[in-house]
Amino acid sequence: MTEPGRGEPESPTGHRPEAEDTDDGDRTDGPAPASVDAAMEAFGEGGLAGYSYAYLDEHTKREVRRTMLSAVAIPGHQVPYASRPMPLARGWGTGGIQASLSLLGPEDVFKVIDQGSDESVNAANIRRLAADTADVDTTTDTTEADVIQTRHRIPEEVLTDEQVLVLQVPITDPLRTVDPSDAANRRRHAHANYGKMWLRLYESVAQHGEIDIGARYPVMVAGRYLMDPSPIPRWDVPKLDDADALFLFAAGREARIYAVPPHTAVEPLAFEDRGFTVERFDDRPCDVCGSTDTYRTEVDTGDGEVRLVCNDVSFCRKRQQRPGLPTDHHLDDPADAGEGGESA
């Protein structure tokens, strides 16, 4: 996985121009094909019969990649693009899957999580679409994936500079909660006029003594744009700050893409005397693996007992086998640092 910010717009990421001597010639890499016909022929053999490689036609993928480049160039700014109708319902990850399919090449390894789980039916459906149409290998292991598409979580294991996290976004603008008009909010972003959001936070403190926002906590990106980090829990917000990985936020229904490039400052809005806080678990560990440093969710087992369990199912499994495994365990050994290539 190369970082799209540095790749050529015309080249599917992950495929450098030197890959021209592909053995089977099924899929060309590198330079853009001379014509639409050439592109269609070149991709004709991969993926699902009757459809383009990776479902979307090459023009669309190029447009989506260019939108991503614009988004990387202006961190936190929402870039409009012509979101295509996808074979998934809108609101179910259509932006994420357009971004993922535009990035993926046949060598890439893809992981999909929905609410922290690889095995939720919606994650399975998205994974199936990518596997069928883009012919990629899939994995549940965060460290093995080149591209990870996620709904509402950032994995617990630290992402590397070779990984891209694609976050599905239901509502692109944090200001939507204070004004439904996109036109008005775009003006506010242009002027960096975030007074209404500050007021909303202040009113919360005045009424309740603290900020009442659960997930979708508004953040300032690179000191300039107010951004909706998608409905990740507050627990995940600090992971966005000065990270090694690229975060792409893609909305299908609202037709916007925005990004947090690697090593960008991401700061949650808060007051000096009413700071940003993450979810509290009262030192109750994960009921399965014993973790206390992961995001946990309540599970009502029906026997009158509410248990807390890790939300990142894949990492919880690793912790069950290797208790106390640090979240950056894979960084010590570069050979294990998300090179991918092998499927799980």
Partner: protein, 372 residues
């Protein structure tokens, strides 16, 4: 971990799909042929084609069959399929005057050049259940062909219907919509709509809008949440030629016809005191769908007022809510698991309670905004 995540999601999806198919085929009757849907449930198929923005009656019938009659789901299938097709050519613009009309009514005038043409309609029939249709072994086809009512001149030539709006235009009574029409119309399936939208973008989005949403929002204006209560200049149903430029000769070539419903509505405007005029609203959709075309013309006229006073007059509000794919998807996405975000808001509620804040659930006043 069995209680945390569903195992083997792929297998479950496949079994759910099979169950859905089984529902369709479990009965004793023969499967419905797409031809039957196209011919006998044409309005259903037309609705899917219009909302799908793809004029391909056979595919629309297939989509309706596959969606088991859910028009929004069928339109969704058509749009998703359409988005994979390469766009080779754009058709030449065609004037509605060329329409081979099968039905045309003008409520604005008692009589109009070309005449009123009732065509095939149930508008004036008593809405009584026809129990004869329960058993319909060998139905007698009524003798009247549609051609029988088309207006013809004395020499047998088809009459071109004079556009009723043109009668008003000739008298200088029509105020054209503000702004010059663009040289090339925008294509909102390829360029995202940004606000304020151009009229070409508004009309495209309305033409693909969900019939129920267009009807409801159009009705809201008539019901009092708006100022537009139009008089319809005319409503037409008929076929329009589809022409493309021949790649070698450069001449326009008629490749097929498309059945459309068109509506033009006039609204009095008294903006300039000395020169009151009529503004007009336009509606056009694939297939026979008069309700949608009329609702669309009401919304087009309302949006031209560009006010935020009423929902139907606010282009952002209308365009943000009429798309069936958007609304259907986002409404139904609420069925997806939300336990991550729910845990997060649970934490806020409990924390504020512990603090001894107001007992009433004031934290929820934003309508659960965080929980998507």
């Amino acid at each position: 971990m069995g209680y945390v995540a569903v195992k083997a999601g792929e297998e479950l999806i496949e079994r759910a799909e099979e169950l859905f198919e089984k529902q369709r085929l479990d009965g004793d009757t023969d499967p419905v042929a797409v031809e039957q849907l196209d011919e006998q449930l044409g309005r259903l198929v037309d609705r899917a084609a219009g909302e799908g923005g793809l004029y391909a009656p056979r595919l629309a019938a297939l989509a309706v069959k596959q969606a088991q009659g859910d028009t929004v789901e069928a339109a969704f299938l058509l749009q998703a399929y359409r988005s994979t097709l390469e766009r080779w050519e754009e058709t030449d613009p065609v004037s509605p005057d060329e329409m081979d009309a099968r039905r045309r009514v003008s409520p604005a005038y008692k009589d109009v050049p070309g005449g009123q043409m009732l065509g095939a309609t149930k508008d004036y029939t008593r809405r009584l259940l026809e129990f004869d249709l329960l058993e319909e072994d060998d139905p007698a086809v009524p003798g009247v062909g549609q051609e029988g009512v088309a207006p013809t001149a004395a020499d047998g030539e088809r009459l071109e219907l004079t556009n009723v709006m043109d009668l008003l235009r000739d008298r200088g009574l029509v105020r054209e919509p503000p702004g010059d029409p663009p040289e090339e119309p925008a294509d909102t399936t390829r360029e995202p709509v940004t606000h304020p939208p151009g009229r070409d973008e508004v009309l495209q989005e309305l033409a693909r809008g969900e019939t129920g949403a267009i009807t409801a929002l159009g009705y809201s204006s008539l019901r009092g949440y708006g100022q537009v209560h139009p008089t319809l200049a005319e409503v037409r149903v008929g076929r329009l030629p589809v022409r493309v430029e021949h790649p070698y000769t450069g001449e326009p070539v008629r490749v097929t016809d498309a059945t459309v419903t068109e509506c033009e509505a006039v609204v009095p405007v008294f903006e300039k005191r000395e020169q009151p005029a009529f503004a007009f609203g336009y509606g056009l959709t694939f297939g026979r769908n008069e309700r949608k075309a009329i609702g669309m013309s009401v919304l087009d006229a309302s949006i031209q007022l560009d006010s935020e006073a009423e929902p139907a007059e606010n282009p952002e509000f209308v365009l943000d809510t009429v798309d069936g794919l958007d609304s259907f998807g986002f409404i139904e996405h609420l069925k997806l698991p939300h336990y991550v975000t729910f845990q997060s808001i649970l934490d806020r509620i409990e924390s504020i309670r512990e603090r001894g804040g107001p007992a009433e659930p004031a934290a929820d006043e934003q309508g659960g905004e965080a929980d998507d």
